[in-house]
Symmetry: D4
């Protein structure tokens, strides 16, 4: 009953960003556009901050799905980038799986568009192959709440752990003292109320 807690570890985690493309994102309706953009970039910030190997992939980026959002491309210029020629499930693309396995890591942090397909399918495959999978629910979007919750149920039943970008950041950080200023900067950019707390604090303690 008491299985060990599968805890994210920055030395064993790899981040997969799947199909965050300029066209596909118009399908996302379970988050407002501003919330979703902020969450996706926040997860990317975490990948950078913790130096996690990160893998980018797109589906038909030369068609209506559109290119990867340029911010992600810019943040990870040297990351493996797999423009899939047709496979809907990224796990069906050999290069993608190879790139993951090449990292030697067993903890997969995944987010994408849309949740029920581009996230769920590789999640189910990765679990089957023995990876631990951490789905970043708030950086993954889809058509509506019914589809979101059904996809969550399918992935949960298969053993995926549901997380959000903030809990990913905190579990990887472990202790504020590892880099207090770095984490504070990241949170200040992505959580307006946290930024406000910091600004109030600075103002009050400066007196």
């Amino acid at each position: 009953m008491t299985v060990p807690y599968k805890r994210l570890n920055k030395d064993d985690a790899v981040v997969l960003l799947v199909d965050h493309q300029t066209g596909l994102i118009s399908l996302v309706q379970d988050f407002t556009p501003n919330e979703f953009k902020n969450n996706v970039l926040a997860l990317a910030d975490c990948a950078k901050f913790f130096n996690l190997p990160t893998i980018l992939t797109t589906s038909f980026e030369t068609g209506p799905n559109g290119p990867l959002v340029p911010e992600l491309k810019a943040m990870f210029p040297d990351a493996p980038y797999i423009a899939r020629p047709g496979q809907i499930n990224a796990w069906d693309n050999e290069d993608f799986v190879k790139a993951i396995k090449a990292t030697g890591r067993k903890q997969i942090i995944i987010a994408g568009v849309v949740t029920d397909v581009c996230v769920a399918f590789p999640t189910l495959c990765a679990l089957e192959e023995g990876f631990d999978v951490f789905v970043v629910t708030d950086a993954s979007g889809t058509f509506n709440d019914v589809v979101q919750k059904a996809a969550w149920a399918r992935m949960t039943a298969a053993g995926a752990q549901l997380m959000n970008w903030f809990s990913v950041a905190c579990e990887l950080q472990g202790d504020w003292r590892n880099d207090m200023e770095g984490l504070a900067n990241l949170l200040s950019q992505r959580i307006p109320n946290y930024r406000n707390l910091m600004n109030s604090y600075s103002a009050f303690t400066a007196k």
Copy 2:
């Protein structure tokens, strides 16, 4: 722990459309009428597109429940059609189960009205008999969100996988290259934002 991923396969799947009748649909309140109609027809489009054996059934169609919606009848003129004389659970009707077993397929894709009865009961029976069952949550409707979520919980606990019509389509397709134009047409009819992406793309690339 790492059981194989139960993945939909167009050679092993059969579609059951249960009690989408003109009267019963007025009971559906967990989707707007337009969303529900679109989702049901989209699932039917998938069944056609992938040439899946499809089985139609109705409950008391000569009474207030009303006839099957004519679009479904028209789309599947040669499908087994079981007008049940009284069994609420379609699985209690021998002809219905025979029709399923005659297909030799073990993956059941099911949708119907209402979710907690016409979908849940045969789902629980099919799971008991060893079928894999994929419930299409957005093509199945019921009284309200409380009933929907309770029915989902009951079916999930018994091993059903919750999906939506779009993830069914994508899992069956596997690779866009299997028939890019066909799938694009299907999505264009049923997902307005996808249609808009395609039309923008055509306009821009025509220049």
Copy 3:
């Protein structure tokens, strides 16, 4: 994996109505008052219609919690009626458990106020003692949606099946032909859209 489907059976089911009291009901905020009243009486109608043994219990009915709603008392004049002197968990009251066991039935259909206490506690005890428990989610009310969903999660994890009064009615009925008019009358009283379908049907076919 393929455990038998636990299906409600009118010869093996007993109904527990827990603490539907005139005062306590003012705590229920996860349903509107009209919806909740209708659902509770619909479940009571089912108990009557299928001649299920039914057990009533109240908590401190002489205090602010108030008496059992009179409609329930009137519908089940001969049912075991346990006015608990203090036990919050009805299962802690020997008379209540004795009354259940006296029926010899192993399927418990339970509803009450509030879901997280008066329903959840006896549900967890009954499951522990080997009963099958079917929680009627829409005839059970509590403070808000967060509490409702947390209570559902706790009961589901322990093996309870979540249902609603309509799916209880349908699973017990099995086949419309067992008593078509009786069930139609019941549904007509409690589901306005069903009543409308019947009235339209009568009008149209009378021509």
Copy 4:
């Protein structure tokens, strides 16, 4: 106090469809994509059915805003079509206003994307020039409910009448007997529950 009721009249009404473009529609978040598409096409159906002069206009259709949705272009091949070179408020475009005035009609039925700009600005101008303006709220979309309701308040305060496509259809029709079958067909295409009523009716009365 008792001013005459400004009632839509098919001999005095003109329909303005403003900026329903494939790109801009991705900004609409106060309706689901399916609902919005259905409402816009339903309003177009009304314009056709009542032979109302209809004027189409777009904003920068050669840029990211995208082309007019093809269905509208196809439905009104001979309608004045003003591709505005830059004016955000269509009323600032002389050709647009000329086209309206050329119809000699004083009742403007308007819908567009986005409500707070493309609908509100010409509405306020038209009211100022003495037109009666009927805003079709459900065929006009914008960013969210706050923006929608603020735009409604601004237009209402200036004398616009808020309507929806169905009430436009009914006010123009006046009497079912003017063309019962025609209106029934239109409603059957756009209101699934109405279609179901008709199909139930046909089935029942055919007996």
Copy 5:
């Protein structure tokens, strides 16, 4: 600025119930079916209780719209009953307007299905002719909240007063002492929480 308060008066009010038909009610989605049924019957209860002249009308009741809901017919067997042969706006039917004027009353209490058409059109006509119009918002239903709120705005701008069945009852009653038991009975039937208060009160004071 200080115009006299237009207060409902049981000697000057007439009730119009417009198109509460078994088919049309399936279009109502801005209230749950149970809430809507309860509200409509509660308004009818008020008309009976205060002996208000009541006029019933239907639209094409021999077609898919279906018959008037039988409860209303049964409650007002002697009321003027105008089955309109085709006019969508009941005010366009001479018999309907004659029946209203025959009562000699100037305060119109109106409810119907759907709000934006069957309620709004006669409301606007009646206001134009100098009647005071009190729209019973919760006994009038339509497609969704957007349509509801747009229809409210149009009617309010024209001078209609928005009410609900409970405020109609209370304004007509004026003083509980006019018939305390009668009003209490009415409220007990239609407001579950009020019924519970009464039952708790009876139980406590009986001690």
Copy 6:
């Protein structure tokens, strides 16, 4: 067009608290019980803090409606207290109106249960007699959002100003320097986030 701004003035305002009774409050469903209790007591705090004459009234407090909530009685032991023998509209009770007029004040701040009756009726009467009326929307409760918004529309059309307890407090205070600590204490009791700001501030500046 530019009428003077009707601004609350602590020397010209009187507070009316209408029917906040232990039974009637169970009818309030447009606020959660905790929010509503907090808002009502906050408004009472304001009346105390600004020394506004305050008038309490109840409807049938010896019946199921129950007594005035004890907190209000305790806060205003010397306030005029009119237990109405039967008038639903408090303005129909001579003692109530006399008590208001005895204050010589022309600005009425009113809140009560339920909004559409106990607040709306006296509001409409007071406006008719030339008072300025400020309805405290968040200290007034009723059955649901539809009823709330309809009542707001009726009162707004008659000239009432819609406010909330916080804006009442701020408009009466005018300048923080009139009694900074007093107002801060009041807000700290009733607005948890304000309390947190103050506590953070104290902690940070104490360093």
Copy 7:
């Protein structure tokens, strides 16, 4: 009846940003923190882009309310900045009103925290003095939707026009050709779906 349309004009408009302080913003609950931050900064972008005179004011910024959010201070380093010593209504501060009048402009664009106080009070005063006031609803925040809508009603009744930052931008711009790239940049920063359209467009037309 046909009063001239009050249209924003960049030569006659002044922007007031009231009390967007790091502490006070924690009171805002009618927008998510991300949406609110984005909207406020978007409005500030507009003020910069159109070179509108802009006036900043704060309430007790040395206390728990906290300093002005630093972004606003940084964007408008030379703007009049009135740190009010105690006046809750900024219009009660002579320096603030002087600063507005010094601009010689008659169109006030206002936003602030909280809507019902810091926005509503100066809005009502400005209207009384003959200014045209345009309330930017989505850059103004408050406690909840009830308070928001009540504040809107009070301001609308007094003649304020409700807008949102996007409609402000579009009405001031008038014609895209005035500075297409500038406006496109602004929208791309603040509307993720617009940014996506632009990025898709660039990708497609680059081919």
Copy 8:
């Protein structure tokens, strides 16, 4: 299948209150501030009432996160109080775990801010070490409903039981007769509708 029901027991339970700090609470958006404050204090009331050992901990309380809310400090002056120097997961702090183990208790009742981090991380660790963990969902807050539900799923999958403060109170109390007045007082302070029931009861039975 029938594992024993893990029932809270006041002799085996310990309460952990994690990071309810004046700054951090501004991040909580899945409850209104009033509801959240009430729930947290209600849970603290339970800890006091049942004399449960209670452990307080904070994260960086000298920084922007702010101090523990003073009410909690005041209620548990002698409780172990661990101001963590940097560990995000309280379980990573040896003093915290030692304090728990020093109680000798195996049932952990936990609540905190934010749910997905400060509650979820120690919950997962405690489960791994064999504790039974009862998460008090309504005294734990986070960014939004998506994050809340994802965190619930992760904790449930690991074996945590989801509860709410009221069910914790009731399960610990067991029987009203253990201290009827004490529990009644607690509920009266925290559940307004319960308080109203008690006050009505007292008034009615005093007659």
